[in-house]
Symmetry: C2
Subunit: 357 residues, 2 copies
Amino acid sequence: MHKKLFIPGPIEVKEDVLEKMSTPMIGHRSKEASKLQRDISDKLKKLFYTENEILLSTSSGSGLMEGAVRCFTKKRAAIFSIGSFGDRWFEMAESNGVEADLFKSELGSITTPEMVEEALSTNKYDLITITHNETSTGVMNPIEEISKVVKKYPDVIFCVDTVSSAGGAKIEVDKLSIDVCITSSQKALGLPPGLGICTVSERAIEKARTVKNRGSYLDFVQLYDTIKKKDYQYPSTPNLSLMFALDYQLDRILQEGLDNRFNRHLEMAEYTRNWAKKYFDLFAEVKSASLTLTTIKNTKNISVKDLNAELGKRGYAISNGYGDLKEKTFRIAHMADLTLEDVKELLNVIEEILSLK
Amino acid sequence: MHKKLFIPGPIEVKEDVLEKMSTPMIGHRSKEASKLQRDISDKLKKLFYTENEILLSTSSGSGLMEGAVRCFTKKRAAIFSIGSFGDRWFEMAESNGVEADLFKSELGSITTPEMVEEALSTNKYDLITITHNETSTGVMNPIEEISKVVKKYPDVIFCVDTVSSAGGAKIEVDKLSIDVCITSSQKALGLPPGLGICTVSERAIEKARTVKNRGSYLDFVQLYDTIKKKDYQYPSTPNLSLMFALDYQLDRILQEGLDNRFNRHLEMAEYTRNWAKKYFDLFAEVKSASLTLTTIKNTKNISVKDLNAELGKRGYAISNGYGDLKEKTFRIAHMADLTLEDVKELLNVIEEILSLK
């Protein structure tokens, strides 16, 4: 039996979107391939409110995160972490010999603009990475306020991980002066996994040209120069199946309307938070709680594993806490094309299983 | 109109295999995901005649080629090239600061065992890379004979690019003592692009542990250790759609029978070569001609571009020459699930268009 996924990726993919994954192949050096990839870029620019270029990478979002810290750091990277995915970005820098410092917040807390100011004011850094939405803790960072600080340091390249928020929360790349905004297909965009997606500023690319030892497959300059030279074709054979599905899904997203989509995510988040406060508690403060998933403090000391097993029998899946937060928290994702009705349905089933009513 | 693809990847994918790409999502940390990925590994071990471990990478084959040269070279890499894809492997080494030398053969010629002997006998190298099948020239290297030379140097890690041959030609990994045998989904395996696949020996992994600066996403050690620790689950969210399709397609391949499959490829190759010799000429010598595609010397000075345009109108696609060989050659791929009947059909249409009969 298929389980309806309320986990933070892979997510529930609409049937008509899944069908597009079965589109017969085309040559990746054909005019059709150029058109497909150009169309996708045009539509993604709308989603990210940007005139910057779009790059697609046949990899997970992690691939692009690694490529970014390697390609755009010449002096030293300031890596801010509010959980597992921020820590991972630091490990990526280290494993590539990129000089970096890690600035960690307590689990459940945000990266504060003050922390960013303190770090950047040392003038030691030429790259900063921020996690927009941390799926381990359900915290969403105040990206607008952080952006105001980063703007004061024009030599710093601003990289943001929006892997689990893009498509579910408004991220105005140009307004926030984000140089590199990274996401992937299998979260709030509502597609299967396998494609990394990002926006990249021209100044970031020009800087990367002066950075040595950038590698090849995850090198932003190689991706950028190839799509410019070859009319949106990529250096290696790209994941065409996901391109077909992404092109179609972006039409669906733009047809829904971006503001409608973000409002739907807000409604689902608010409903889930209120439910969590009624029966359990929130792991993060409401003002920094994520729009795409809710991490719930397991105040009733239930067995999350058993709950998920019961949910599985009824055709649903949620997530246990991440890493050290296992069984101390549990996570309900409400992203992509799920609706408020879906969320209500799930929460009702949980109430039944746990005899909460 | 869909064009039947006789190009060296992406290839024509069977309808039932394409349908598997639409399988609804599952959690990538679920037991189902472990089972799926373990089953795939078991089946791929049969295809590669190996007991070595299988690694899947959500990237193209190029990603794994880069990871290999970076992870397994401690002293210096000897990179043998018989065309564009060998050259690319050298560029990957350079872009990662890996010490390497490039040994090029003339276009259309093989890497000879003597060339390999001469290089390795200097004891300068601890890694060697060989292209098994070069899709730019249609040349297949004598991997058995080269293997006999490499075996004399037990400290050398033996990496082979079988991207465009695995699944179409017999590659006995253990018998040939190949440490790292790399392929990808969109060639003779008969699937859409988006997944890199390789076999890796334990001694290669143990060596990689002593190599610094291996990066993260394309790090073989991270992939290997994660599947061992997490029951065949991968560090990042993998391309599940292609996993579903690959699992199904491997059943189809094993049901056809490996020897039957390789014979079918041989039959298609021989028929195409004979046709080429009748009307044009072969670019490579017959004894080193590829089993999965034929590069034809354009002795009649036809416009390959015009031929392909005409073919397109009738629902077929072949490839122009690669790089410098454009218009001087053209390429017909006969791989994956194409049959001799498909090849005859295509060649008949070409004869009609060019009034060859």
